[in-house]
Symmetry: C2
Subunit: 509 residues, 2 copies
Amino acid sequence: MTDSVASTDRRNLLKGAAASAALLAPAAGLAQTGRDSDREAIRRAVDAGYEDSVRRLREWIALPTIAAEQRNVQEGAALMARLATDAGFSGVRTVPTGGVPAVFGVLDAGARRTVGIYFMYDVKQFDPAEWASPPLEGQLFDHQLGRAIRGRGATNQKGPETAFLAALHAFRAANKRLPVNLVLLAEGEEEIGSPNFINTMRDPEVLAAMRRVDGVIIPSNGQTPNGNANIALGAKGIIELELVASGERWGRGPRRDIHSSLKAQVDSPVWHLVEALKTLTRDHGNTPAIDGWFERVRPLTERERSLIAEAARTRSEDEAKRSLGVQRWIDDLPWRESLERLASQPTVNIEGLVAGYTGPGGKTILPARGVAKLDLRLVPNMTRADSEAKLRAHLQSRGFGDIEVNVSGGYDPTETAEDSRVIRAQQAVFTRSNVTYSLFPRNAGSWPGFVFTGPPLNKPAGQFGLGYGSGAHAPDEFMILESTNPRVAGFREAAMGYVDFLYEMATIR
Amino acid sequence: MTDSVASTDRRNLLKGAAASAALLAPAAGLAQTGRDSDREAIRRAVDAGYEDSVRRLREWIALPTIAAEQRNVQEGAALMARLATDAGFSGVRTVPTGGVPAVFGVLDAGARRTVGIYFMYDVKQFDPAEWASPPLEGQLFDHQLGRAIRGRGATNQKGPETAFLAALHAFRAANKRLPVNLVLLAEGEEEIGSPNFINTMRDPEVLAAMRRVDGVIIPSNGQTPNGNANIALGAKGIIELELVASGERWGRGPRRDIHSSLKAQVDSPVWHLVEALKTLTRDHGNTPAIDGWFERVRPLTERERSLIAEAARTRSEDEAKRSLGVQRWIDDLPWRESLERLASQPTVNIEGLVAGYTGPGGKTILPARGVAKLDLRLVPNMTRADSEAKLRAHLQSRGFGDIEVNVSGGYDPTETAEDSRVIRAQQAVFTRSNVTYSLFPRNAGSWPGFVFTGPPLNKPAGQFGLGYGSGAHAPDEFMILESTNPRVAGFREAAMGYVDFLYEMATIR
């Protein structure tokens, strides 16, 4: 995904404190329910289907859909549709969005409740030269946590999605009826910020089907390397953009790079950019200073503060600092306050700066153009549209109206109630699987959950799954298939986690 | 050279208004002196030696000395020494500097006066892929101004230097005694900012020889494409540097790039850099704001203002704006005031910015490091040492003491009195050659003239020569060898310009 828990950094940060009991082996708690024998049959089917699942995953990895490059758009959608059909969805078809098409299907089990499943079938760009093995090969290798698969999409998001499909195959192979109906909506441009995914709601059949769901999950490898998990009750929104200052647009400064000695006579678009940037934040960049930026910001509730206090107790500050290579939090805040800040504050981050000469040493030029790449994280009740308008108005009113604001993607924050079934079902699965987890008010990263949690659907939605992988957006992305750590789920245990989740969704009050 | 008139931009900017009479052909004015017949013989010798000169230039171009790459350091010094010896210098030897060696030689003509000649034998880096012909081949081609040679160093500075050597060969071939003695000092690291050239003054023989000179020139292609010329009475100094902000040095922010969602919890070294940059200037980057920066700045004198007013009358503002791709000068100043600003103001220029993700689109990271590449132009009586100390103190006192200041090169401003023989001799040659020229108080670019004009020598020094070339530091660098424009000197006329200059230096009062 764009970011959120798929990030190693986030993952490490969210790593909980010590947990205890061994995981999963006979799914202890489930013995209490009346579905023991069904579950055992399904479990055997997951085991029996494991090789097929890995084959399926490798085939999927071999066909990367990359929206930014318009790569395998039709082919990727077709494969997504086939994977869905093979797993038991019916009426599977593509849904036009104005961009890369979505894929839609339903699985009617004649059940009382319906669960929405969000997939992304696209992946992030990759440079094969940076990889230990060809990124489209899905090579199996031995990781310190066990047998693993390495390839683009292994953990973000084809691996966990394949584990979810494996659960569906196992239900069918075991001849067991699904306890809930499913609606699948798979996106093909998550990695460019889901610019068109909301348009799927304009399709009457999709909208009608989604209106019936009780909640939505995207399958995810939600465990840390020590087996702990985090349940986020939402995620920040995001706007990703470039600010481009140029002599061309400004009407001042040069139209192409000129000799730097002219600086005494000619304006500098790069200085213009630096001045514009400086107005966007204060406190060393830590506090957004865009006009009206905090108007809609909702402070943390008491419950959110207490969840953070609990998270601060169970998570290791030292481990977080070490894994991030950070010595101090902003303002030297203590751990709990830094987590409150993480969850509650909107940000204006500089992802990158590019202007003029960027090679080794120097070059005496006055550059005609400068670019700042920014991401703005939004918290409830900010919206992408309002925030973008505020940024433009801010620049305009301060004499920077010539600076191009090129928004490449983004979406609103997303929130899901703690008492929704989607959240409670996750807790139930983690508890019964002896996975230590913490609830956290909001992921500081972003995912396009707003499509489900915002209008017109207003449904609970979250990321869920057992399993571990890393390297999203990076070289050597992988997912653990056969875990040697009893507290960390491998592929089969992850599939069983989805089985259990569907049972919970069917039965939880 | 590092910049100054070698730049096309500067060259175009300095292009004068319309001039009139035809140039050079029989060197009109010289008929008034008693040296007519000697000059004619030398002229025939220049013609006769032309093919040898071109061969010499091509051989020199084929051996690029590049200090930044430590390329051909010894070989380049050896060739420089041979070229000097072949042209009549004696006692030619290398002079250790702590960096790339200088080359020193004298030519004792038993004359009353002595002239210093500054050469640079190094060249700027090049990328052959960007060139129309191999940059070390010195290929001859037809330019719109006539037959030309293309290669690295063709105009910066081997071409004009070879023309100067051609003048010396011609004196000898014509069996004519030089009217002045010469001291040659050739530098091998001009292109990295002459970091060690001043150390040549520690060599007692060099210092003693240079103390005897009346003034110093570096041979240069000093004409614009329309034949006009400019005489600068000095040049700004320069400091080239990188500011590097990093989590490592700051002790805040990450030590390596982390996920951008962490911005709400972790400081950003790139924002730290932007804040530091912002303190260095005001007025959109047009006015340096470094503490004490203007303490030593000497305002323009009345004479300097009147020279600029004269230059404003003879140079075309429209042409300058067009050639630079600029619509307005700083503060919408009128032409004359903009030229006053150009000559008189120190600058803080951003050559380049590099931080985080610099490729297409975005990448949600919080970068651990940011770099700003700056050049600071210095005017009299600022010095490099004092200015560098002020920059460091400024950053320190504002809480940016962690930001690395990596100075890669630089030197003091340089000034030469208008009534010095070096300047008056140039004027005499231009006048007698019917070249329209203007005097300008100061080149806004920089050259290491301070080695000659500052202590311990305190000699007049300037760039001088007839001829035209372009593409210094750029691909397809060239020099016109056989001009089709009667107002623009070719190689032979350039050589005769040096002949005339030496005569002027011998006889001018």
